[in-house]
Symmetry: C2
Subunit: 198 residues, 2 copies
């Protein structure tokens, strides 16, 4: 994981009845040993982390794990035990995150103001289950998608053009949120080229 | 590269004046030794491949290479020679594609009918410059994005809801175009859950 980047992961935690829970969570790599994440209030993940002060971060790209942990919960046979926590068996790698601090803050976004828990944790117990592990970062995908829109701008008009413009704003936001310096520089070039259609 | 998946690559070819040319191209992995790509008429890439009957496929994630090869061309110092071809120095891996067949077909898409060259090529001279090479496939990104929209559907209305719906159709199309069986199954689950908002 590279400093400053936000990765799409699946976090697994332990419920009060000792069963496992999992949810997709974006994890920011702060430095070699520290991660940060922002959790919306009201989820089992927040409650479990508040209670247990630790969680497992699963680095994986299995599409069904993302879908099922979002729509409901993963069935029991997806999990294996690590100490008193659970990780996801099919994960490429996982680590244990030990909470250093957890603070509730009010954050305003496009959907209004909500309470978010800012969790800072240090990293231990890193296990790789595949030789090559590349955690999921969305920045390069945003770049590729932005380039597609850019090269199509001469072909579109009306409703479609409006959609492309809206999507470009969103891509710009995402790349600057999840990407590194090189991604941000590349996105800036795309935005500059895009602005000639203003 | 996994059979059936489409990867985002940068293809480098040799111009008639022996200089190098590069452009982002989607490459479909047909089997262990064969790739397929669809090229729009009129580009240097098509002309060069028609003339030389071979091209280099660069597997990389360097955002600036994608941007600069789309907006204009890469400067000379980006390239190194392999036999009488050029590859991109910073690439994670590259291989030589030798054209087996090239056929011009008329294809209809959202922008109308255009002539596309279907290129089938076999693969040789595979070089890895990084120990771990994972070529760029957009399917998991579509899955993650689709899940974001799905979980936000209760929070949006009006114009924003319309955008989400439109984007979901597009994501569905992309995942089914570039993804494998597991991606398609996962996307089907997302679409089913999304349809409850119809």
């Amino acid at each position: 994981m590279e400093k400053g980047l936000l990765y799409e992961t699946v976090v697994s935690t332990v419920n009060s009845n000792q069963t496992a829970n999992a949810a997709p969570i974006g994890i920011i790599c702060k430095d070699n040993n520290t991660v940060v994440c922002y959790l919306h209030q009201g989820s089992s993940t927040v409650r479990n982390i508040k209670r247990n002060k630790k969680f497992i971060v699963n680095l994986l790209k299995d599409p069904m794990v993302f879908v099922e942990s979002t729509l409901g919960n993963l069935s029991e046979n997806y999990y294996a035990s690590h100490k008193d926590e659970f990780y996801i068996k099919s994960t490429d790698a996982f680590f244990l995150a030990n909470v250093i601090s957890m603070k509730d803050v009010e954050r305003a976004d496009q959907f209004g103001v909500s309470v978010t828990s800012v969790v800072v944790a240090d990293v231990s117990d890193i296990f790789k289950q595949k030789e090559c592990v590349e955690p999921l970062n969305r920045a390069i995908y945003g770049i590729v998608e932005g380039l597609v829109y850019l090269t199509r701008m001469e072909m579109v008009s009306g409703e479609m053009e409006k959609l492309y413009r809206h999507r470009m704003v969103e891509i710009n936001r995402i790349v600057n949120k999840v990407g590194g310096k090189e991604h941000k520089n590349a996105m800036k070039k795309i935005s500059e080229a895009f602005s000639k259609y203003d």
